[in-house]
Amino acid sequence: MMAKKAKFRQKAYILFLVAPAFIILVGVVIYPFFYNIVLSLSNMSLRHIRDWKIVGFEQYVKVFTENTQPGFYGIFLKTIIWTVVNVFFHVVIGVFLALVLNQKEIRGKAIFRTILILPWAVPQLIVALTWRGMFNYEFGSINLMLTHWFGLPAVQWLKNPLDAFIAVILTNVWLGFPFMMVIALGALQSIPQDLYEAAEIDGAMWYHRLQKITLPLIRPVMIPAITLGTIWTFNNLNIIWLVSNGGEPSDNTHILVSFVYKAAFNFYRYGYGAALSMVIFFVLLVFSLSFMRKTKATEAAY
């Protein structure tokens, strides 16, 4: 009898701990998720806001075949380039700076670290709008530097499709490397120092130490961070939307998620937007699952 009562109390306690978060997640995440599936199968748009009906996979077909300007496949390719380039530079710069900063001879580590974290600390909205200003043709400091210091011609950053794409990438590389640096620093600090001492006695060169000790040992920490970083970058609406001012020039600077935002909230194509959202979600789901499976498989080899 007592045991039963204790068990019940235990259950009530767990419920008490989990229920608040569960309720809010059901309301704001789970229910909207299923509602989004329904929307993606419907024809809801500004014209059909009340009299919408289920139309099956019509919207999905549209996503893949409709001749939108720019087209789905072009944006998809751009999204992949955007993600790969960004994450590559985030990780390379982040790990590199962490390695430099982690050398025991460096003084003023705390100050360097604090300044280097700044791009992460500044709100993304302000980062985006400020860089947008810096890319201004006439008054932006990037062009001023190019012309004054290097004698190069000024660039029409936000007017040419390619330059605009480079501009958003530069902005996002700037704000993203500190996250990887912080993670890498944490990982580096957990590597026991005597491993390096032993390697030094064995006469290992720095690149041997890097290759055989440092990189394998920070890998398990970096992999989840890189997975998360990839997902966040793939879905980074803020920077693209705000630096390019909604995809300028003439919708040439879009990644998938900003394209959906435009379709849904500027053109009120709700059904289409919902379907495209689902497509993005599945792309990420497949990527994450295969990436994690692959890295787990190689992890076992160590």
Partner: protein, 279 residues
């Protein structure tokens, strides 16, 4: 001898690299401060100096006297405060349950939290927007507070769970022997130990609300209800950006976040990496 020379050149190169990246990290931030201090007739300047000659606080004055900035500041503070409080309470309790107990749906629950990270922002925003329209919660803080609270929540729960996993259960058993009940052991013993992770949760929740733009742009349409990001964006109109106001507002919005972030950066390392290693 050559070993020593190599050693010194390595250190010098290291410092040069660090200083170079510090300049890159600092420059855009200095740029904002610089714009906010420029006198009105020199806002569109083609000089590269960081502290403008005849610097002035005129833009800050205008910000508080000529715009609704003060109202937006109050609105944002209110929203961010409620969101942070909700986030910390929900993540710390749910994370604890996920770390310590077995219950039905635990595995699926944890997995779904991870999967939510793959949702594109629009996937929840669009249905939520339509739901809020139907519930007449457009132009209300309740709608936006609920949405913000849920944004950072999955990540924070994972983070908290990962951190709790590193705290030995023997501490709770000791607490139980000393006569604490289950809940007391949680908030008297475990919570203080988990403060680094709590701090990170608070920081992330705060940041997700304080400067969020794309969600707010759809939900808060009435200028009286605007939060700081909406006000800030309104200075950056396509034609004739109010650069002075924009700079001054950015500085005021950024300062609390940067101070919070940098003073907590010590915990950032331990809170985040522990969570991800054990997660």
């Amino acid at each position: 001898m050559s070993g020593k020379k190599k050693y010194f050149s390595r250190i010098i190169v290291s410092y040069i690299i660090l200083i170079l990246f510090c300049i890159i990290a600092l420059y855009p931030v200095m740029q904002i401060v610089s714009i906010s201090l420029r006198p009105a007739d020199r806002l569109l300047s083609t000089s590269l100096e960081l502290i403008p000659s005849n610097a002035t606080f005129h833009s800050y004055e205008r910000l508080f006297t000529e715009t609704e900035f003060f109202q937006w500041l109050i609105n944002s503070t209110l929203v961010a405060f409620v969101v942070t409080l909700t986030g910390v309470v929900l993540a710390s309790t749910a994370g604890f349950a996920f770390s310590r107990f077995e219950f039905i749906g635990k595995k699926i629950g944890l997995l779904s939290l991870l999967v939510t990270q793959m949702f594109p922002a629009t996937m929840l925003l669009l249905p939520m927007y339509i739901m809020l329209v139907k519930l007449h919660l457009i132009n209300s803080y309740l709608g936006i507070i609920i949405m913000y609270s849920a944004t950072a929540l999955p990540f924070c729960i994972w983070q908290m769970k990962g951190y709790y996993d590193t705290i030995p259960t023997s501490l709770e058993e000791a607490g139980r022997i000393d006569g604490c009940n289950q809940f007391q052991t949680f908030y008297k013993i475990i919570l203080p130990l988990a403060s680094p992770a709590l701090v990170i949760t608070a920081l992330f929740s705060f940041m997700s609300a304080w400067t969020e733009y794309v969600v707010a742009a759809q939900i808060l349409q009435d200028t009286d209800l605007w939060t700081l990001p909406l006000g800030l964006k309104s200075f950056e109109a396509n034609m004739g950006t109010e650069w002075g106001l924009y700079g001054a507002a950015s500085v005021i919005i950024t300062i609390p976040v940067v101070i919070l972030f940098l003073s907590l950066s010590r915990w950032l390392v331990s809170g985040l990496t522990l969570g991800s290693v054990k997660g």
